[in-house]
């Protein structure tokens, strides 16, 4: 039972990382990918 909690917690971290990074890439401070590359 304890193991499944770890799995869900890890998934929460993973989902937050993917979600936040994707949203920041869309609306984030740098705005567009090319600003960083320029």
């Amino acid at each position: 039972m304890g193991k499944s909690w770890v799995g869900w917690l890890a998934f929460l971290v993973l989902a937050t990382t993917i979600g936040v990074t994707s949203c920041q890439a869309l609306w984030g401070p740098s705005g567009s990918a090319s600003e960083q590359t320029e």
């Binding site: 890890a10 993973l14 993917i18 920041q24 890439a25 990918a33 090319s34």
Partner: protein, 300 residues
Amino acid sequence: MSAERYGGAFSPGGATNADKQASPAAGNRFRGRKARKVDVRGLLLFVLPTPLLFAGLGNIGAGDVVGAAINLAAYASLILGAWLLREGQRAEAAYDARAVAKPPAFPRKLVAAVLAADGIGLAAYFGWGQDILTAAVFSVLTIASHIAAFGLDPMKPKGIDLDDAEASRVSEALDKAEAKIAEIAELARSTRDREIENRVETMLAAVRDMLRQIEADPRDLTRARRYLSVYLVGAHEATRKYAENHEDLGDSALRDDYLLLIGDLEQSFAEGHDKLLQDDRTDLEIEIEVLRERLGQDRT
């Protein structure tokens, strides 16, 4: 009290009383099959990177080619990772369902974790504009949480010793038979005929019973060789030809012949399975007898 399914002689799958007595197809066609698990978490991984797709499309609209390429590459990497994870979970389910199995040849779940980390690294560094160290930390966090959440691929062979050529041969024969079963089921579905689908599934359930029996006692493979190399291949050929030609020919007599063949094959597989069980019982009886005789000799 027993319930009987509603339906007459002309209902789909309906059979007359005489048919019911003659056909052993009353077995459950889902016997020996496991329901496929749907992992909501795995599906969410397809949805979560969607903003990256919009970011890439927005870049194209703004004429920013480099930005679009990077955002779309990050999106593609995450989606490819999610797809590989799903394939890895399917391979793992197939591995778990078998008593004798080799590990999947390609570590799909591990590569899925690497692809997710790669996508996040790209999106964090270029899209979000974080420094390289932060992007690297995000990548490591992604790979670690991915492995903790979904685990790694099975790495060890199960129920067999790879040095043992005989066991390896059994595993290969089972793999081939499973592949043939999947192809036959797919061909039957392509006929879009519910009765044929049901009858073929019932026959395949009998084949699966036989495969489980071989898994339990790999010595049975030699005895079952005729069933797997002649009957199963014959069933595959007949189903393929029927699926390819039934629409052009439109011949109901051909359909009846095909159904009869499937019924006969199912009966043969069921009898074969019973025979294997009986042989195992005989083997065990002989072993017990021999041991008892030896014990008797040692006592005297």
